[in-house]
Symmetry: C2
Subunit: 407 residues, 2 copies
Amino acid sequence: MKFSYISHLYCPKCELTYHVKERHQLCLCGSPLLVKYDLDGLKKVLKPDDLLRREASLWRYHELLPVESQENVVSLGEGMTPLIAMSTIGEDMAIRNLYMKDEGIIPTGTFKARGAAVGVSKAKELGVKELAMPTNGNAGAAWALYAARANIQSSIVMPVDAPKITRNECAISGANLYLVDGLISDAGKIVGQVVKDFELYDASTLKEPYRIEGKKTMGLEIAEQMGWKMPDVILYPTGGGVGIIGIYKALIELQELGWVEGTLPRLVAVQAEGCAPIVKAWEEKKAISEFWADSSTIAFGINVPKALGDFLVLEAIYKTEGCAIAIDDESILKELEKIATMEGAFICPEGAATFVAARRLRESGWIKDGETVIALNTGAGIKYPETVRVEVPVLQPGDTIRKEMRL
Amino acid sequence: MKFSYISHLYCPKCELTYHVKERHQLCLCGSPLLVKYDLDGLKKVLKPDDLLRREASLWRYHELLPVESQENVVSLGEGMTPLIAMSTIGEDMAIRNLYMKDEGIIPTGTFKARGAAVGVSKAKELGVKELAMPTNGNAGAAWALYAARANIQSSIVMPVDAPKITRNECAISGANLYLVDGLISDAGKIVGQVVKDFELYDASTLKEPYRIEGKKTMGLEIAEQMGWKMPDVILYPTGGGVGIIGIYKALIELQELGWVEGTLPRLVAVQAEGCAPIVKAWEEKKAISEFWADSSTIAFGINVPKALGDFLVLEAIYKTEGCAIAIDDESILKELEKIATMEGAFICPEGAATFVAARRLRESGWIKDGETVIALNTGAGIKYPETVRVEVPVLQPGDTIRKEMRL
């Protein structure tokens, strides 16, 4: 049995196809490329129960991943993140069956590890020696560390305002790290130039076809963790949108395999009010988004004014009868605190946005009574220390805590 | 079939036994209490293969945990952390079969989540409404968050020098948080007083019997992940020592169940040169340690001058023919960087200390050629940003990266 059932690459815009043995970035037409698998072949030899004895990482789905030889797998044990019942806050927002897929519980502390693990593994398989990418922080950190593990050199460019800890992660991995006094789009231009000047592999979002395959595993895991039953709604914090595109792709593949049945979950793209190009496009029923000028939000990971894969995000929303919704920063911070005090989970602002979205969509009746809802938290709160205000009394040795000092 | 096969509590010093339906802290004789299970009963009804369909969390071993009713389980999906091959750095130190058990991939980013999950769950089962504890940071963060999930109030006291991010975690959980301008021993005295004054549940290290049961699951997981075969050596960064005591207890229980065979792995207690009471006691072949004055190390989590369970740590070392070894801070930081650049794993200083220890013990011949060695990393590097020095060039939008700016 083959390790991967990858068949070929194809362009979702112009339908051109490409071989998988060579390096490819974008399609000649400028669109991102997607991976196709031989699902008819796989269907005959693999059943869900065959996964039981496999390790609890995303590599348990290796037939549905693009890496053809097991020895090229570069893994730090990523994936099979917990799907956690959020009953208390669920009750608070009248959603009885509310779950959180917690992507903070993964190497580097964010869901970016999935794309990096699969993307770097495939880059290794293709003989890549050096890659480059712009980042809002977390993706760069993940790619730099996985690249180090694969013995691939990396060049990472991030805005000076990106989360500080992600600088440390890049630096300690031995990456070429640069800050830019601007936005991720400015970082992108610098990367474009360095890729050309030094003939590097361009690992920018959707400019190589494999990161999305890593992100796809969130969808595979949700299906397996739900016992191969579909939830009704999945809410996803959407910047570049690779995750929501990936989840949609995963669920379609599982349908074709016959592992899941029934209607697809309604996919919800959650954005910040200060950067909501997908929401605007969806409201106007458009197929692509426009550049969002002067974007700004504390949820740094979803500060993406124009995503290369916007048309794929919108397709995923339209095809599943989902929606798109924008949340303000103040509500995000309030919900983040509520989730910690009610559920004990310290999550990232992007993740908190999905809970605010769930709350609003339930209030409006878009989420119906009794529906099963999954909110994606894309990263650990510990990567975002500045979201918490701390005022703590300092005692001296021998002091005692008096009654009025307690809650 | 029962959810837990817990039988009773017993004192490892005076052998007094206690019922499990009541709250207990220390034994009347002052020793920590340990949990006993009905392993003969369990043996008849549970086999390793029965675990296959269970979720990838530490609760897959619920029969070997003290929580008697499933509804009292307070979980954020902790456990089944990856066991990762460390081939490159393994080769670098001439240990071909080197693995890392990565406890950074867990809620709150450190192994303290295990003790907190099981400890808080049992506290909930026992009807606890408020708990208190001193901490070097990470344990307090974990207990505060799990307590929030259990709707238990918490009071946490930590040194002002404890990792800053752990303050944020306690604060956002809604805990009563206090800093003390001193050491964890000073925090401990303040907690002792507040426990008395307000009749709180004392969750200090080993002052309640259940945290160790949570930590024990590291040993259960290692055994399962190794296919129920014992490794030769396990290295553990040792402060309070609950983890090493727990791993030892787990392996004994698995032997009694007949799930593992052969010699127990040699357990190695790794300490910092600036705080090495266990190492000193072991070198002097003593059964207990002495208070280590003026302790100091960057590996904050193992800055514990005198552990309540020192005699149990030393017993685990002696009984398994293990050893104890102290590492200097400079070597820890160097190894930490090496692990990131060679393996792509950004780990904590305490974890890095175990790799230095492995390197030294291999050099001395104590670890033999071909032996299988597991190093425990107790936390994610992202919780310790100050271990990395970052000097990064700042570019302006439109700048290009020149050749001399690259590695």
